[in-house]
């Protein structure tokens, strides 16, 4: 058995408790250990990415055989998500080390637990285990969300916790419904059981499956359950908001995994169950997100609504449920995670330097590092709005191309192209108000407590160069993601690896 498979969960799980103790003694050592953990995670997940080429692999915990034991399953999709998580976590941690991690207690320990939950959710092959990893990542995210304290942040934090607790309750009810009909919690086993469900029980099964869509929709900020996101992300500490860029992708990953594997082409009466709900909801999310970008009064709000918009784009492509559209969705997902994280970090840098003007989109005098921030914002905004030459444009192009042969081509083209205009206007307005018009004002804002550390600039630079790398290497990345989607749309590979490891069927 290949023990590397469980390392992305075990490593942060061991580091977390160590960092709780170490954080009280020596914060420099804690920072180094936390960063070393994240760098090691990159190495491990890149190694797993290479192993995933030979088909889905499994890791049976305590060597219990599926479907009775709990399994971890690694395929190309989970490996890609692991690499994305590790890279984002390392870069954001660099940013946090400039000072955010000292504004409250136990930042690094919570950070590691958060990574443990995210990695677990990407690796698990079992529903109830997925629920447990969701809870782990949520509990850690509650702590990170209110890191640093403050009345507004705590108020937003309480709302965030309440919404997610209701989501967890729905998750349990959905899992219960599915189990009561199929008698299994293993995803691969479920894929075999779903077509055999008798017509009497079909309604129960579908209600359960669609409740799960709602739960994953809460995570992925799908309209109408997106309302928690803008306030949470805008109030969260900058490194947390940037790391949360991957949390919405956990929802998208789960939707992709479940509704292709168990409710896909082979599901009989429940085939492509999610499509008719997901597609309209995703297109409304896309529209609402970019209308929000246009209407935002603060840069933090603008970044949050652009996350809703980009999730709408990703989910629209996922909802087409074809391998080419899924490959496009995955490419856009990689891009939008990096772009969203960069926007949140830039928002914080601007907020720090504008004194009492904070990140409000109002005209204020010139502030420190204005030109450098303007240039970085320009690049991030081009990426997020989907203008050429960066990866956002390529991602949207791929999505449009993949939508052409489907019956939904007209709707998708209309939604993606019309909202692109809204996004561009929104970002142009924000950029010119914040950076350009400030030169016409008298005086200069000298904000106090601006960090002189170089780390925030390194972090933002790395994220932006990640976007550039994704653009330059688009051919290779897209080829790999096409293979990933191909693997995903052959559920038999996954099912055989989990249930019939010795061959058979």
């Amino acid at each position: 058995m290949n023990h590397w498979l469980i390392m992305p969960i075990v490593l942060p799980a061991v580091l977390g408790p160590l960092l709780i103790m170490l954080g009280c003694i020596d914060h420099v050592l804690a920072r180094i250990l936390s960063l070393a953990g994240c760098v090691a995670l990159i190495a491990i997940s890149v190694g797993l990415l290479q192993q995933a080429d030979s088909g889905p692999q499994t890791y049976a915990l305590s060597a219990w055989v599926a479907p009775f034991g709990i399994l971890l399953v690694l395929d190309r999709l989970s490996a890609v998500m692991l690499v994305l998580t590790a890279v984002l976590a390392t870069v954001v941690l660099l940013y946090a080390m400039a000072g955010w991690d000292r504004r409250g207690r136990h930042f690094h320990a919570l950070y590691q637990f958060q990574l443990m939950g995210i990695n677990g959710a990407f690796l698990t092959g079992d529903f109830f285990n997925l629920f447990v990893f969701f809870e782990i990542l949520l509990i850690a995210s509650y702590g990170l969300m209110v890191h640093g304290g403050g009345a507004d942040r705590l108020r937003a934090g309480v709302q965030y916790v309440i919404v997610n607790l209701v989501g967890s309750t729905l998750f349990l009810i959905a899992v219960g419904l599915i189990y009561s009909v199929t008698g299994t919690l293993n995803m691969a086993d479920l894929a075999l059981k779903v077509p055999q469900v008798s017509s009497d029980d079909l309604a129960l099964l579908q209600v359960g499956a669609l409740l799960l869509l709602l739960v994953f929709g809460v995570k992925a900020a799908l309209v109408p359950v997106h309302f928690w996101l803008p306030d949470t992300y805008a109030q969260a500490p900058a490194p947390t908001a940037a790391l949360f860029a991957i949390l919405t992708k956990v929802g998208a990953y789960c939707i992709l995994r479940l509704y292709v594997l168990a409710f896909g082409a082979q599901a009989g009466a429940s085939a492509w169950l999610a499509q008719e709900w997901l597609l309209p909801a995703a297109m409304v999310s896309l529209t609402l997100g970019l209308v929000g970008v246009l209407a935002a009064k603060r840069l933090g709000q603008l970044a949050s609504f652009s996350v809703i918009g980009s999730m709408g784009t990703v989910l629209t492509a996922i909802a087409l449920f074809t391998p080419t559209a899924t490959a496009a969705a995955l490419y856009y997902m990689l891009h939008s995670t990096l772009a969203a994280a960069a926007l949140f970090l830039l928002t914080d840098l601007v907020r720090e330097r504008r004194g009492h003007h904070s990140d409000a989109l109002t005209v204020a005098p010139v502030f420190a590092h204005r030109s450098l921030l303007a240039a970085a914002f320009f690049v991030a905004a081009i990426a997020m709005a989907g203008l050429p030459p960066l990866s956002g444009f390529l991602g949207k192009l791929l999505i449009l191309q993949s939508a052409w042969p489907t019956p939904y081509a007209f709707d998708v083209y209309l939604a993606v192209l019309a909202t692109a205009l809204l996004g561009i206007i929104g970002f142009v307005r924000a950029g010119s108000t914040l950076f350009w018009k400030s030169t016409a004002q008298q005086g200069r804002i000298e904000a106090e407590g601006v960090s002189h550390s170089v780390l925030p600039w390194v972090a933002v630079g790395l994220l932006l160069s990640g976007i550039v790398a994704l653009t330059v290497g688009a051919g290779g990345v897209h080829d790999y993601l096409s293979q990933t989607a191909q693997q995903l749309y052959q559920p038999q590979l996954y099912i055989n690896a989990v249930l019939f490891p010795q061959g058979g069927q």
């Binding site: 109830f128 447990v132 809870e135 509990i139 509650y142 209110v146 304290g149 403050g150 009345a151 507004d152 705590l154 108020r155 934090g157 309480v158 709302q159 916790v161 309440i162 607790l165 209701v166 967890s168 309750t169 349990l172 009810i173 899992v175 219960g176 419904l177 189990y179 009561s180 919690l185």
Partner: protein, 113 residues
């Protein structure tokens, strides 16, 4: 017994949702607790309702009940218990920091205006 369990789940859920929609944090926390009780009973019932049946293999057992839902309920109880503790602490901190126990901070805004 089916009617009793089903109506218990229904009443708990209804009361939970009503409390969840209230404006202050205390009823909301109670609502979340009621919802999690409803979920626990529901989870317990997904293995079908059986009385006096063994959950684990034995030579003398005449029939069996599904042990898995019972294990799931245990996990769910532990997690929901911990979550209730977290939300209580966060609501208290939020109340102490802002002076308002409204979930959306409505009262506080009214005072400022």
């Amino acid at each position: 017994m089916e009617a009793l369990v089903a109506s218990a789940v229904g009443v708990l859920t209804a009361a939970g949702i009503y409390l969840l929609l209230r404006g202050r944090t205390f009823p909301v926390v109670l609502g979340l607790a009621l919802l999690s009780y409803a979920t626990n009973i529901f989870l317990f019932a997904i293995g079908r309702l059986k009385i006096n049946q063994a959950p684990i293999l034995s030579d003398t057992a005449l029939g069996y009940t599904d042990p898995l839902p019972q294990a799931l309920v245990l996990t769910a109880i532990v997690i929901s218990f911990a979550m209730t503790a977290v939300i209580v602490v966060m609501s208290l901190r939020s109340y102490l920091e802002s002076g308002s126990d409204h979930v959306d901070g409505a009262q506080q805004n009214k005072e400022e205006a």
